[in-house]
């Protein structure tokens, strides 16, 4: 039921985001959903003149997500939010709160992922 979706991969997401930025699109937000025990679904929502377009990326939980905060500063908070909620890490995040944007440092549970706890290093 969502229109204007383009599938992207870890290798192509940055170039797609840059293309949208250069075309005058505004980053609305990102959405993450757990697909199964291995993968997450990440959606990037962009707007131009009230029309939404979306990028969709399947993301393995155990691999870092390429950060787009270097391209769009607006992604700074939402990438940190996903880090809190889903326990994923981001490569190149310009300000990493290290899972303490909302959560206390002692919290080891990952709120929106089933049966996963963070092991302190």
């Amino acid at each position: 039921m969502i229109e204007n979706i383009t599938e992207v991969t870890q290798a192509t997401v940055a170039s797609e985001v840059l293309r949208l930025k250069n075309a005058g699109y505004r980053l609305v937000t990102m959405t993450c959903t757990e697909i199964d025990e291995n993968d997450l679904d990440i959606l990037y929502h962009f707007d131009k003149d009230l029309e939404l377009v979306h990028l969709r990326m399947r993301q393995p939980k155990d691999r870092p997500v390429p950060s787009i905060s270097g391209i769009l500063f607006a992604a700074l908070l939402v990438e940190n939010e996903l880090r809190d909620q889903f326990g994923v890490s981001f490569d190149g995040l310009i300000l990493d709160f290290n899972r303490t944007l909302y959560l206390d440092a002692e919290v080891t549970e990952v709120p929106l992922v089933s049966n996963v706890k963070i092991t302190k290093q």
Partner: protein, 358 residues
Amino acid sequence: MARTIIPFGPQHPVLPEPVHLKLVVEDEIVKEAVPALGYVHRGLEKLVQIRDYHQMIQIVERVCGICSCIHAKAYCQGIETLMGVEVPDRGRFLRVIWGELHRVHSHLLWLGLFADAFGFESVFQQFWKVREKIMDMMEATAGNRVIISVNVVGGTRYDLSPEQLRWILEGLVEVEQGVKALQKTMLEDYTVKARTVGVGVLTREQALELGAAGPTLRGSGVAQDMRQLGYSAYSDLDFEPVVETGGDSYSRSTVRFREVLQSIDLVRQAIARLPEGDTRVPVKGNPEGEVVVRVEQPRGELLYYIKANGTKFLDRCRIRTPTFANVPPLLAMVGGLELADVPVVVLSIDPCISCTER
């Protein structure tokens, strides 16, 4: 002088809710700001795992009290889209009436707080006095002053009688007069302008690149308002977004001031064109699929992403609130400010931290 870090918040006289900024200053000039959140995070999005999709209406209404009605409207709209439910025309118009009353009370609340932020306490009290009439309307029509719980999946829980509609129209005359009486002070007074004009400037380009929303975006000259999408009954009403081009605190304040009068006009239009009939349709079954919904909160664009699996529990209900979008623009606004201007500029985005952290 060496750089110094000044903590701003989480407790501060201008902040109704807790948020913390680490301000890096040289002399009295802010060089950069780093936000720290988490003081009112409640993990509401996780509750979809234990509350069914009807109960979630009460949950999303508590994301934020001030715009509770519009949170519920966005959520219900998403579920209705997934289930193919068509809200009766009267229900669509009633959603506009209560939604716009909510916007008026939110903007009047903010205008008062903003005046208080630069020490204009009499204006603060005047705006809140005018706002009381709107609170009376919500209490009389829905039983509560703030969390009015009028939206259900399929329409609205309550109807408005002809007597109530007449009473609302009479009350709006009083509200409009009260607001217009404050126009000269709020928009032309020397002391107000001295604290707001040219302060906290966000250019049109910055607003778009940093993802600004609502009056913050429109105060920088971008004519974008989600009501242009025509949801509820907005497609049947005359509506143009309010835009100012200064990009400063004064422009954001002016947008909200003008939007109060615009919302009064929208309520009048909706009442004048209110069709007869049911306010809701019965809804059976469970939603399935995924949907993105956007509506205009008082603070700006609100996005709901809902993913449903055909059971009564949703897979995901993701909420992106306008203040969350306006934090990166705020960090750009405060750079280069004098320390004394920071509270006024922070308040100029109408920050709602309960919304931001959920």
